[in-house]
């Protein structure tokens, strides 16, 4: 008989629209991070490091990259005879067929998958956080409290607490109240979106609320359990945890890795992060290059100058190019003489000769003032920027652009250039 004490369900279907053009062709969990990884590597590695060998990954938005990345789970040792990683896209049913309409609805549609493993506990994870966490310790906490639901929560600065979902606990860490983005927070314990449910409790709630439109953990399931009087506990977590849901926080989290001894240290032997890596060869640093405070991925060739940057695998930075405070993802090419300042450049991009990115003064975005509120140049994957173009701050570029697209050879701060094509 198949029996797993706890299995994980990883919610990886969201677009992550606040990452702008970075997620126009790829789901957020598949976005590259830290010169080698993809965001989903962190929860997946946490699972295997915590001894969880059965993970269902719920996909929906642009799943191709995610599917190829996960494969049969070899990089995480999640290729198992029983269990392992399973990608769970929405599917057609005999009486209905619908997309995953909400986080809990996605789990509801996969009750059969969970039942197959006959678990006592189900861990709900989201695929957009950077952290290292031992879920086994959290499970111990859950069991010790005889809890029905345990929510991981971390203390945030009081002045930022109003941006989060806040939990209020009694002296035994039992949650007495929830506040969603409160104006005057009464606590600074923020929910991290990581839940351990006792499976019978979650199963009952999912069945009960199955008709709820856009059924969501935060909005429906947890309030339902709370009203019902279930034992809900907060598991306080004090390590590094970063939501990389916005361009600013994504850029910041990457930049934190280049500190001399980063708070989030990938170089520790303990709690390794695993990823699928296609590029094995070493990187080459030429005689006339300069590198200061960077991390650089495998197989990259550096002939130019780079400062304070995170460079992915198999990137080429040609002679005379200068890259500062930027993130460049795999297979991109920065041509000779180009200047790249505070830019996020997605995979497979070509920046032409003598292009200047990130010049001039900040201006509000004409594209989307909710997404583009940082002084970053964001370039979507497989884009091309022709030689000699000058691009301002807080801009977005996507697609194969040509010199004729840029009047006067420039793109002003706050402006954007989104063209069809660019996928190869």
């Amino acid at each position: 008989m198949i029996k797993k004490e706890m299995i994980a369900m990883l919610l990886a279907g969201g677009q992550g629209s606040r990452l702008g053009v970075l997620t126009s062709k790829v789901a957020k969990p598949a976005v590259a991070f830290g010169g080698k990884y993809r965001i989903i590597d962190f929860p997946l590695s946490n699972c295997i490091n915590s001894g969880i060998d059965t993970v269902g990954v719920l996909t929906q938005y642009q799943p191709l990259r995610l599917n190829t990345h996960i494969g049969i789970g070899i990089p995480w040792d999640l290729d198992r005879n029983v269990g392992g990683v399973t990608v769970l896209p929405p599917y057609e049913k005999s009486n209905s067929s619908e997309w995953y309409t909400g986080t809990a609805n996605a789990i509801y549609q996969n009750i059969d998958y969970i039942d197959m493993y006959n678990p006592d506990y189900v861990l709900i994870l989201s695929g957009d956080h950077i952290y290292k966490m031992d879920y086994e310790v959290m499970l111990e906490f859950h069991k010790a409290n005889n809890a029905d639901l345990t929510i991981a929560a971390m203390p945030v600065p009081m002045e930022e607490a109003s941006r989060f979902g806040i939990v209020i606990t009694d002296e035994n860490n039992r949650i007495t109240e929830f506040e969603e983005k409160p104006a005057n927070p009464r606590s600074n314990l923020a929910s991290m979106g990581i839940y351990i449910f006792s499976w019978p409790v979650l199963r009952e709630a999912l069945m009960k609320l199955s008709e709820e439109p856009e059924c969501d953990f935060g909005k429906h399931i947890i309030p339902y359990c709370h009203t019902k009087g279930d034992r809900i506990f907060a598991y306080e977590y004090n390590g590094y945890w970063k939501d990389v849901g916005t361009l600013g926080s994504y850029w910041e989290a990457n930049m934190e890795l280049i500190d001399i001894i980063p708070v989030f240290n990938l170089y520790e032997e303990f709690w390794k992060i695993y990823t699928r890596c296609e590029n094995l060869p070493p990187q080459y640093i030429s005689a006339d290059s300069r590198i200061e405070r960077c991390i650089i991925g495998e197989g990259t060739n550096i002939y130019g100058e780079i400062y304070n940057s995170v460079i992915g695998p198999n990137v080429t930075i040609e002679r005379g190019a200068v890259v500062r405070d930027s993130i460049i993802m795999q297979d991109s090419v920065i041509r000779a003489g180009a200047m790249v300042n505070k830019a996020i450049i997605a995979e497979g991009v070509t920046i032409g000769e003598d292009v200047q990115l990130g010049v001039g003064e900040y201006a509000p975005s004409k594209l989307d003032t909710k997404v583009y509120v940082f002084d970053l140049v964001t370039v979507g994957e497989n884009s091309v920027i022709p030689a000699g173009v000058r691009v301002g701050k807080n801009t977005a570029i996507s697609g194969v652009t040509e010199a004729s697209d840029y009047p006067d050879g420039k793109l002003d701060s706050g402006d954007y250039m989104i063209k069809a094509g660019g996928s190869r």
Partner: protein, 373 residues
Amino acid sequence: MKAIGIILAGGNSKRMKELSLRRAVAAMPIAGSFRSIDFSLSSMTNSHIKKVAVFTQYNARSLNEHLNSSKWWDFGRKQGGLYVFTPTITADNSDWYRGTADSIYQNLEFLKNSHEPYVVIASGDGVYKLDYAKVLEYHIAKRADITVVCKEMPSGMDLTRYGLVRTDSDCRITEFDEKPMVASSNLVSCGIYVVRRRQLVDLIEACAADGRYDFVNDILIRYRNLKRIYAYKMDSYWSNISSVDDYYRTNMDFLNKDIRDYFFRTYPEVYSKVDDNPPAKYNPGAVVRNSLASSGCIINGEVENSVLFKKVYVGNNCVIKNSIILNDVYIGDNTRIENCIVESRDTIKAYMTYIGEPNHIRIILEKNDRFVM
């Protein structure tokens, strides 16, 4: 492909000096993130050979560790796969492998139980890419009994440690000198052979019946007039790791863009066991020029014309020039290393100086305590 593969990886070379204390030559780290056997293994998988046996004998721990899973070379299959054969005591044999032919003889069952008509034999110490299917095609077209892959070496090189061949105008091998006193030709044998499986079984059995054990001396040289032995000339990069100088030069070759592009950016790829190391990190004070750095490196000092393998830590104010630093080496602050090969897992103290000569590369073995972060 209608062939099985055999990789001869049991050998040791005295000319590798201290480097051979730690491991068989086939397990020598190459080009930052590979081992020398990866090149033969990758060529086999890229030539669609599905079943490969690796014969190991000398100090195989490191090699066995590298081959702990066959999935990196795509040999993790139900059909075929990767087999590692070390000498074992059997009812009628208690010897080690007494030579290359003997190692095949002791594993003759593997050959007999296979159904593929041909065998590709390669050595584990070559750095190259080769499509064995092309060699087999040539072998069949020439109606050869054995095909020996050869490489024309530039004149002026010392070739006395290679097997040298001379051919007639049809490329049939007429003379074969193993490690001659004076080089008689500049066509060297790469230690890669194609032969029909039944033919090989017959040759090896005859060899064993005579108490002969060496593939080159007792088969290739002895049978050169009797059997049709042909040379297949490869014109791409080939290098053989059999001395410290070869080893140093081969690694330094990868600083050359053309060679790097040939191996890493041209189809087909070279595969290796995957280590989960983070990207290389350059802290303030790092000055790196014309060098290779692999995953997991942390660099705080100066590195020039050097190859850093995986997980090398270079301390503040260090100067490293014309050197090869093998896997997982820790170099303390203010240390100077020139023209050296630093053995893997070494821990080098601060304020040390190690200087070798360009034509006399020094090997550093330093076992000091290290405090893991």
